[in-house]
């Protein structure tokens, strides 16, 4: 049975239900109160991490790394909620987690950190990440990480990965119109940008947390500060989304239905 080194790239994003407001400073745009906002592991990176943990569990001898570029203090906080979910070794880079940073710079940091993992064996390497982030939402970083690591077997919007006895990777990628493309790759190394996958969020396991945290804190302490650039923003603003809503209260279901049908028929 193949054994893998699964490196998950994943950063943090503001808790998705927080109110966000952009502000522009000398270093480019950022979010108002960015360091105050509660953060979570990027949802798609989270799926990637849980898929990685599941794959590692099913392939004994495999190991999961989480490589994360984020402000150290916020990352530490997020580790308090993620650390009980799945066993992994953290590789931390103390850098901005803003969506406004240049993806190529972030990719360079991540690829550098992956290449520097002691004992990295490229023939067993699977690089996981989200298909895009909930911050920049570009879907480009993973491919650049792959390029930097010299991996041309890449998959995006992955919902399922099945490993054959011989190490063959069968991949389901989301494509247009609610369908999936099925591909087969002759084993590692490969890059996977995950969509949601099919796994539920793992339960909190205190033993996993206890074990993870012993390594997480030293990893955070070792995190080196790094900087990233930003594109030339001309404007960054909240959309004007208020509509003049007509609230229709006193129609019968039949009258509402007729209005809706008429509306659907309009061009």
């Amino acid at each position: 049975m193949p054994q893998f080194q699964i490196v998950v790239c994943g950063s943090i994003v503001p808790d998705p239900l927080q109110t966000l407001e952009p502000v522009t400073g000398p270093a480019g745009p950022s979010l108002k109160n960015e360091l105050m906002l509660p953060a979570v592991l990027d949802p798609w990176a989270g799926h990637a991490l849980y898929e990685a943990a599941n794959l590692a569990r099913n392939h004994p001898g495999s190991k999961v790394y989480l490589v994360s570029a984020a402000p150290k203090a916020k990352l530490q906080q997020v580790m308090m909620t993620v650390g009980q979910k799945a066993p992994f070794e953290l590789v931390a880079i103390d850098a901005s987690a803003s969506g406004f940073t240049e993806a190529a710079d972030v990719a360079a940091l991540l690829a550098g950190a992956i290449a520097a993992i002691p004992g990295l064996d490229r023939s067993r390497l699977l690089v996981f990440g989200g298909w895009e982030s909930a911050s920049r939402g570009a879907g480009v970083t993973m491919q650049m990480v792959g390029e930097r690591l010299g991996i041309a077997e890449q998959f995006l919007a992955v919902d399922q990965l099945t490993v054959g006895e011989d190490g063959t990777l069968e991949v389901l990628e989301r494509i247009e119109g609610g369908s999936h493309q099925i591909s087969s790759c002759q084993g590692a190394p490969a890059v996977f940008g995950w969509a949601t996958g099919n796994l539920p969020e793992p339960r909190n396991n205190p033993q996993v947390g206890m074990q993870n945290m012993r390594a997480i804190m030293p990893a955070l302490q070792k995190a080196k500060p790094a900087s990233t650039g930003v594109p030339s923003f001309v404007s960054v603003s909240l959309p004007k989304q208020q509509r003049e809503t007509r609230v229709v209260k006193d129609l019968t279901p039949d009258e509402v239905a007729r209005e809706i049908v008429a509306w659907i028929g309009e061009n």
Binding site: N33, P38, Q76, Q77, M80, Q84, R203, G209, M213, M217
Partner: protein, 615 residues
């Protein structure tokens, strides 16, 4: 069949991460490391390692689900002598402090004859009195209420600040999102805790991905789960309480965090305490944080006997009072929150220590009900326990009741927390006899330092609540109330909006910014959420008893409309809306037939809540 549970051994397990646990863990973690960073003490469960200390918090983040405060911060400053409020977001030194009496601008408030007379007097002499926007500032703030030299802050931000330092120290682990179901009580001793089951259905039955709650065994269990904590109540029920112990005074505090409009010129550190409105029994507060943000809130106490008591609606009326509306009009609701306050203070003190456990914070009766201060006291009790624990660890003594009493309890008894708590103990009893008597009682306790108090029998909350028919007698006919109840039951909504409006309270005109419906508020400032796979934590123990209620105050007071009228009079609980304030616990009108100290609501440990770190 009892499922097979995993077990983990640690040295110290702590239940709940609030100010008390913050004080405990901060002081403890400093003592666990020697000056050179090497471990000063050794773990028993993991020889060769420093003591394994772990803290479990039920909410999804260490900064979620707590409240904004003004505090003298004596205990906090003792731990952080160089504390700069600017280092903690939303913290500011207290700059100005006023006590404001609010007149009733709408004429719907239920005021006694005495209070009406006072209001008339104030209005008659309005040209001679400093009447300002329907309110009058008390000429001075009694010393026992003053927070000068203190800070306004957001406990959410403070907890994050403390939590991040703790985690960075590496000496202790704090895990949010992990509710503790119960203590492991063995032969009168506490041997650790059991975490809640995961992967279960609403009723707790195993579901997909079932993971039985793990047993965390520890030589010392530190109980810091607050006033409505499940572990605290289990210990009281199983191991007993001291003579004279009573927890009958409660309040639910509800507050908004508001982005003030540009036009508002209030300085950070401005503090208003209010009384008189929206109901005489409801006290209010308004604290100004840096960057034009304010916390505004009210306390709805158990001695406000309305059967349709609600905090959210009253808070909107509070903000609409002309005194505050001029400051907040045009502002925006950023976040909100609610929590129960244990207002029995020192009188609600349980056994502080026993074999294998100790209790700290609000749940240990540390809140000062005269000065209205709880955070600093809670913090201080945590530091006292940490000092005691370090002493016992260094001397190789075990965590027995006797050892904890001679170290922790003794420290606490010698401290200002105890001394001031004693003075405050009976300060609020007078409110049982009315608002003015209550004020007089507070003044009497405050000025005589507790030597004289206003005597009154403090009743269980459920004993004091009239039916809506009794409460509104003379104002709304029985027939009309019955009709309103029928309509509200059919729509599965509480009664308070309809009855309050019928009693003269103006409808709230929502602006979608600051004044929003209660349901919309649940979506603001991080939204109320509940992770899947956990059981309902609010349970109506005997549904038959609910059917006899007819006046479910649990529905009215629910801070998040998570409890709604249900079929046959048994309320329905929606876990995804609950903010874990615990008000249902003490607002239930039905005592259990075999235990008059308990109501028909079981408030267990549960996951989720409001995802706001600004409260």
């Amino acid at each position: 069949m009892e499922p097979e549970r995993q077990q983990m051994d640690v040295d110290i397990v702590c239940v709940g991460f609030g100010p008390a646990a913050g004080g405990f863990l901060t002081t403890l973690s400093r003592g666990l490391a020697a000056g050179d960073g090497a471990p000063a003490l050794e773990s028993i469960v993991a020889p060769g390692m420093p003591p394994q200390v772990i803290c479990y918090e039920r909410s999804d983040d260490v900064g979620f689900g707590v409240s904004g405060i003004v505090t003298r911060a004596r205990g906090i400053r003792a731990t952080f002598p160089d504390l700069d409020p600017a280092a903690i977001p939303m913290a500011a030194p207290v700059r100005e402090e006023k006590v404001i009496y609010l007149l009733d601008p709408v004429g719907a408030s239920r005021r006694s004859i005495g209070l009406r007379a006072i209001d008339s007097l104030i209005r008659s002499f309005r040209f001679g009195l400093p009447l300002d926007h329907g309110a009058i500032e008390l000429p001075y703030t009694p010393e026992f209420l003053r927070k000068h030299g203190g800070m306004v802050m957001s406990i959410g931000q403070f907890n994050q600040w403390v939590g991040s330092q703790l985690m960075a120290s590496g000496a202790v682990q704090v895990w949010p999102g992990t509710p503790v179901a119960q203590a492991l009580i063995e032969d009168g001793k506490i041997a650790g805790v059991r975490l809640v089951d995961q992967g279960v259905e609403k009723d707790g039955a195993p579901g997909p991905g079932f993971l039985p709650g793990m047993d965390i065994r520890a030589a010392l269990t530190v109980v810091a789960d607050g006033p409505v904590g499940a572990v605290s109540r289990q210990i009281d029920a199983e191991l007993g309480v001291p003579q004279g112990y009573q927890r009958r005074d409660w309040a639910v505090g509800c507050k908004f965090v508001i982005d003030l409009p540009e036009s508002c010129n209030l300085e950070p550190g401005t503090v208003f305490h209010t009384l008189g409105y929206p109901e005489p029994e409801i006290f209010g507060f308004f604290y100004v944080h840096p960057e034009r943000v304010a916390s505004a809130g009210i306390f709805v106490p158990s001695w406000f006997t309305s059967p349709v008591r609600t905090s959210y609606r009253y808070l909107q009326h509070f903000l609409l009072h002309p005194f505050f509306w001029r400051y907040v009009q045009g502002g925006r609701l950023r976040s909100w929150g609610a929590k129960s306050l244990q207002e029995s203070g020192r009188r609600g003190e349980p056994f502080l220590a026993g074999d294998g456990y100790a209790r700290i914070g609000e749940g240990s009766g540390s809140t000062n009900v005269l000065t209205g201060s709880g955070v600093d006291e809670a913090w201080t009790t945590g530091t006292q326990l940490a000092e005691a624990v370090l002493e016992l660890l260094r001397e190789g003594r075990s965590f027995t009741r006797a050892n904890l009493e001679s170290t922790y309890v003794a420290r606490r008894r010698r401290s200002w927390v105890e001394k001031e708590g004693r003075i405050a103990e009976k300060a609020r009893d007078g409110f049982q006899r009315g608002f003015l008597t209550g004020l007089a009682g507070m003044a009497l306790s405050g000025f005589t330092k507790g030597i004289f108090t206003m005597p009154a029998r403090v009743e269980e909350p459920y004993e004091t609540i009239p039916t809506p028919y009794e409460y509104y007698r003379g104002r709304i006919s029985d027939h009309e109330i019955a009709k309103i109840r029928e309509q509200c039951a059919a729509r599965c909504i509480p009664l308070h909006d309809a009855l309050m409006e019928r009693a003269g309270w103006p409808a709230i005109e929502y602006d979608g910014q600051l004044l929003v419906s209660h349901q919309d508020a649940l979506l603001m400032g991080g939204k109320v959420q509940a992770p899947p796979g956990y059981a309902d934590h609010v349970v109506f123990i005997d549904p038959a008893l609910c059917k006899t209620c007819g006046s479910p105050v649990c529905v009215e007071i629910c801070s998040a409309e998570a409890i709604t009228p249900g079929p046959d009079g048994v309320p329905v609980f929606d876990r995804e809306k609950c903010v874990h304030c615990g008000a249902c616990l003490w607002n239930c009108t039905r005592a259990l037939p075999d235990d008059s100290g308990r109501t028909n609501v079981e408030f267990r440990a549960g996951a989720g809540g409001l995802h706001s770190v600004e409260n």
